[in-house]
């Protein structure tokens, strides 16, 4: 299907300022394309260039194949509807009058709105849950109501292209989903939608494709799972994040772990963390933030701790989901343990699958911190793990109650002037 809205190596900006260079993107009927990127990257400018509020200084933008420059404002307003970030309502028009203003491009100079226009306005107000506000003066309404009225106004234009600029920023949870479901429905009925999102999860959930706007460029563009990757999030947003899949909707979900700049400049020692099932995630984050060179012992793919370690870009040993720590992985962990300044064993149960991690530590004999007592509730290896932990303790391992204490202990163990733990 050919694009209804197309940017053809379009350079957009304002007089004297170039904001986005050589953007190329096509939005087909039935498609929702989401634009994401840091503040001020030019997402809104890309939208504003379509309605003439920003300039196209090179390349071009086309609507249904026709260059924008050849389309007058009225004709364009019959094709493109916009829902802006903020709606101003300084004068007291009623909500119905406000929505009817969207009919402007369809009305002749001396033509008045007729019953067909009014029923269309009421239909779009019904769909945006604003019909009950019809008689209210718009200058008394909340930001959320205004935003839905702006959508109703845009839909009253009967557009075939809809541009949404943070169109749900003022909406509560319920209305946000309602509006986006409506947009999805309209797209399925043939509307081409280009939407700027701040919320990456909403963007991933409601867009067929995502386009990243950063550093004056548009790209990459593609389905959410291909675009929202750990390295891209780090590069574009400066955020270390876990990229997962929402258990309910199946959409890509981004959980920020830490901001790049928050990591301290101080370089500290090397710490190996043994975890699994989420027992290590907070500790991995804290140690990384504090400037330690953190390593993760063998973790299953799909495990929360593994995702966090990946997001943080830690050196780690991955084993397949539900797989065992095999001899190869065990050897890798042993090498890490030998080079570590300290080792932390989180409050994780040990069974046949992950026993390899403990065996590797036992041979390395590095200063170790154990979080939580190792009791029968964590023993699933028939006694083997208990024996290994006893061995670690005999070699001088310290036991602490929770992660905070473990961090303090690690700090003591890795600071150069501290005596080796010899208890």
């Amino acid at each position: 299907m050919s694009a209804r809205l197309a940017y053809e190596t379009a350079t957009v900006g304002y007089p004297g300022v170039t904001v986005v260079r050589e953007a190329t993107l096509g939005v087909a009927p039935g498609e929702v394309v989401g634009l994401i990127g840091p503040n001020g990257a030019g997402k809104s400018t890309l939208l504003r260039a379509v309605t003439g509020a920003a300039r196209v200084s090179a390349g071009r933008i086309t609507l249904a194949g026709e260059p924008l420059a050849a389309i007058g404002p009225r004709e364009r307003a019959r094709i493109v509807g916009v829902v802006p970030q903020a709606v101003s309502a300084a004068f007291s028009f009623s909500a119905r009058e406000f929505v009817l203003m969207g009919r402007h491009p369809h009305l002749g100079r001396l033509q008045q709105v007729d019953s067909a226009d009014i029923s269309l306005a009421e239909e779009v107000m019904e769909r945006t849950d604003t019909l009950r506000l019809a008689a209210e003066p718009v200058d008394t309404l909340s930001g959320g109501d205004l935003q839905r009225l702006a959508l109703a106004q845009a839909l009253a234009q009967e557009p075939s292209v809809l541009l949404l600029d943070e169109a749900t920023s003022h909406l509560d949870l319920n209305h946000r989903l309602q509006v986006l479901d409506l947009v999805r429905e309209l797209a399925d009925a043939g509307l081409a939608v280009l939407a700027v999102f701040h919320d990456l999860d909403l963007a991933a959930r409601f867009s067929d494709r995502l386009g990243v706007v950063a550093a004056g460029l548009l790209g990459p563009i593609g389905p959410a799972p291909e675009v929202l990757t750990v390295p891209l999030l780090a590069r574009v947003f400066g955020v270390r994040a876990v990229v997962g899949t929402d258990a309910v909707t199946g959409a890509v979900v981004v959980t920020p772990v830490l901001r790049e700049e928050a990591v301290t400049e101080t370089r500290r020692g090397r710490v190996l963390v043994v975890g699994g099932s989420g027992t290590a995630a907070p500790l991995l984050r804290r140690l990384h933030l504090a400037g330690y060179e953190v390593q993760a012992a063998a973790l299953n793919r799909g495990d929360v701790d593994q995702a966090v370690a990946e997001a943080l870009g830690l050196e780690r040993v991955d084993v397949p989901a539900f797989g065992e720590v095999d001899a190869e992985a065990e050897a890798a962990v042993e090498r890490m343990a030998a080079g570590a300044d300290a080792i932390v064993v989180c409050e994780v149960p040990f069974g046949r699958a992950n026993l390899g991690n403990l065996r590797a530590l036992a041979r390395a004999a590095v200063r170790t911190v154990l979080i939580g007592r190792f009791g029968p509730e964590r023993e699933f290896s028939g006694g083997e793990a208990t024996a290994l932990v006893d061995g670690l303790q005999a070699a001088g391992a310290v036991t602490v109650v929770e992660a905070g204490e473990a961090v303090a202990e690690v700090e003591r163990l890795t600071s150069a002037d501290s005596p080796p733990s010899g208890r």
């Binding site: 404002p73 307003a77 101003s88 009623s94 402007h104 845009a154």
Partner: protein, 340 residues
């Protein structure tokens, strides 16, 4: 279901037209010689049908009627210009004077007045032309200044308007000091007055008002959309940049019409649209014609007060409107602050 706009509009405008007719009858009737309504109507009928005049017709037909009509035309022009600028600025406190256009029209008119000081016959044609040229040059200058940084945004437009306004007022005073012999008449004219009203003035201002009102009346939907902001108006199909320029030009015509025949009369352009808006709301389909008629009523009554309150001494009508408008403006400010 609210009352349809068409019916509401017809009702409001009918009521205002009746009010204007009554105000004009009263204004024509009052004066050194009082005349009853039937006599006024008869005198006008005689004048139209070309029947022989009777005693007293001259006062009604040659003096009072053109003056009252001129007051109505000036009031309508000022109020319409006020509506246009308020839509353009999206600010109900905006006034033609803020843009510096009145000062520009004033300077143009003062230069025309001093140049034609000895030739009274020339004045009639040159003063309005001077006012219009002054208003247009001012608005061109203000728009140029305001768009130095690219697009024409309202804040820079206001700043440029205020700055130019000061400069032009200073220039006007300068011209007045240089041509002392004509200073008295200029000063009186500057205060705003309709003393010199005559039929030729009425015939001159009428087409200016007609054009100045007809153009925006054909674009009331665009005026409404401008209240949502230029960008939103653009998104909804208005060529905002062009429409703004059209509004400024039409406003210049209206301001020139008013200033050239009556000097600087303030507050009518601010007060009238505001009062009308309080009653009927912001929809320009009603607001614009209703403000034009309302402005006419306000001006007719203000001029009536100007020439009767201290009779036989006549107060410049600009002083009357300022006396009423000043407190009104303060009330507006206090009310707005109270709402915040």
């Amino acid at each position: 279901m609210p009352v349809p706009t068409r019916i509401r509009r017809a009702t409001v405008i009918t009521v205002l037209l009746v009010g204007l007719a009554l105000a004009m009858l009263v204004a024509v009737g009052f004066g050194a010689v009082s005349v009853g309504a039937p006599d006024i109507v008869r005198a006008i009928v005689r004048a139209i049908t070309g029947e022989a005049r009777v005693a007293g017709d001259a006062v009604i037909v040659d003096i009072r009627l053109p003056r009252v009509l001129l007051a109505a035309l000036v009031g309508a022009s000022l109020a319409s210009a006020g509506v246009l600028y308020q839509a353009l600025f999206r600010n109900p406190l905006a006034d033609p004077y803020i843009l510096g256009m009145s000062a520009g029209a004033g300077l143009g008119a003062v230069i025309a007045l001093t140049l034609t000081a000895s030739a009274t016959a020339l004045r009639f044609g040159v003063v309005p032309a001077g006012a219009f040229v002054g208003a247009v040059l001012t608005i061109v200058l203000v728009v140029r200044l305001a768009s130095l940084r690219g697009t024409l945004d309202v804040t820079s437009l206001l700043l440029a308007g205020v700055a130019i306004s000061y400069a032009l007022s200073a220039l006007t005073s300068f011209v007045m000091v240089f041509f002392r012999e004509s200073m008295a008449s200029v000063v009186f004219w500057m205060m705003g007055g309709l003393t010199g009203a005559s039929w030729p003035y009425v015939l001159m201002v009428t087409p200016m008002l007609a054009v100045g009102l007809a153009v925006p009346l054909l674009a009331t939907r665009e005026l409404n959309l401008m209240l949502l902001g230029e960008e939103r108006a653009g998104e909804l199909g208005v060529d905002a940049e062009r429409f703004k320029r059209l509004l400024l030009a039409v406003g210049a015509l209206l301001v020139a019409a008013a200033v050239s025949v009556s000097g600087l009369i303030g507050f009518v352009g601010l007060m009238t649209p505001h009062m009308v808006r309080l009653v009927i709301g912001p929809d320009h389909r009603v607001l614009l014609p209703a403000s034009a008629i309302g402005g006419a009523i306000v001006m007719v009554l203000a001029d009536l007060a100007a020439r009767t309150v201290l009779a036989p001494v006549e107060i410049p009508v600009g002083i009357v409107t300022a006396l009423v408008g000043g407190p009104f403006f303060i009330w507006l400010l206090v009310r707005r602050n109270g709402h915040r």
